[in-house]
Symmetry: C2
Subunit: 218 residues, 2 copies
Amino acid sequence: MQTMGFSRLVLVNPRRFPDPQAEAMAAGAADVLAAVQVVSSLSAALAGTVLAVAMSARRRELAVPALWARDAASEAVAQAASGEVALVFGNETAGLSNEELAQCRRWAMIPVNPEFSSLNVAAAVQIMCYEMRLAVVAPGLPPAISGAGQPASHEDVERLVAHLEEAALGCGFLDPASPKRFVPRMRRLFSRATVEQEEVNILRGLLAALEGKGKFGR
Amino acid sequence: MQTMGFSRLVLVNPRRFPDPQAEAMAAGAADVLAAVQVVSSLSAALAGTVLAVAMSARRRELAVPALWARDAASEAVAQAASGEVALVFGNETAGLSNEELAQCRRWAMIPVNPEFSSLNVAAAVQIMCYEMRLAVVAPGLPPAISGAGQPASHEDVERLVAHLEEAALGCGFLDPASPKRFVPRMRRLFSRATVEQEEVNILRGLLAALEGKGKFGR
């Protein structure tokens, strides 16, 4: 949950807490465990919240209608503008009881393979926290690559393509009477690859060397 | 991975396999383990694939541009129409090396809390398989609730609201000279709740009983 930016964990009647095993598995997220609130009932855990979303894969009678996790996350994030919202998970063995589910205003399910639907609670928490994070924080662009260079300009790419054509004709690889689709294919390749300035320089240097002309010696 | 509908797992140089601990943790997904293919290099694992997506949270120099997991899943699913695609995960300790990443045509990242970004490999696999499933299978509507009854018709809801108004006036709760916004508020509540036929019957029976008129005796 901390990887997705959440910090507040409330445990309802944990079998044991604090627990050295939990600390070992927290792998650095000790802050979350240090701030855990332990309560004796689900209603105590939900006190003060404006929306509780129960996560349960089990079909129920007389429940609120189920939502998919992604839609429930959107609604929970929208409601978070009005107050605290809770995601409610049952324990690994039994999940949530009908009584617990009835205390929650929404019921969310994670879409799964119907022939093998047993997602463990850690996996369900991870997916739901991930959906919540994406609903809160539009992720923007992925981080820029530090080694990425300046993209080549249109003219640079055109010069590279022209150089390739010239070299292909010069060495007899291309027959000037029947150039096939060499130029459009090369242009398409380097366009798709979003080639960098430095790469154009390297390729043209290589071409010139292969032509026996020295760097850029055409 | 089986919960998300995936069955093919290839292990590159596993420290030990088969492994009783892996079997214990598979929790019923023994089919996946029974079908594991063990190979000695990543290139052997990728043989025959048309797209390999490397999952890595670490920033790199000179790598292919990073995509977010959701966008990479869409692309992988689209490419799966042309052939087998691979999701490539490193081990828990070291992740993927630069050489391994360089063998993959795409690099995907899971958006995380930048201050605590260490997602374990099981969590990363779960999220990516979930995104792949959503990209393959539009989840449709959540399963219908078996106990859900017939939604009340518009007229039923209107009759309930009229009955509530009559009862509220009859018992003096509402002043006919100043009915406030009782009717619109009740209509809004029962409209939002998508009330069922049976619930209308129960509420009208209760109202009639409170009015001393017997069921539906108005």
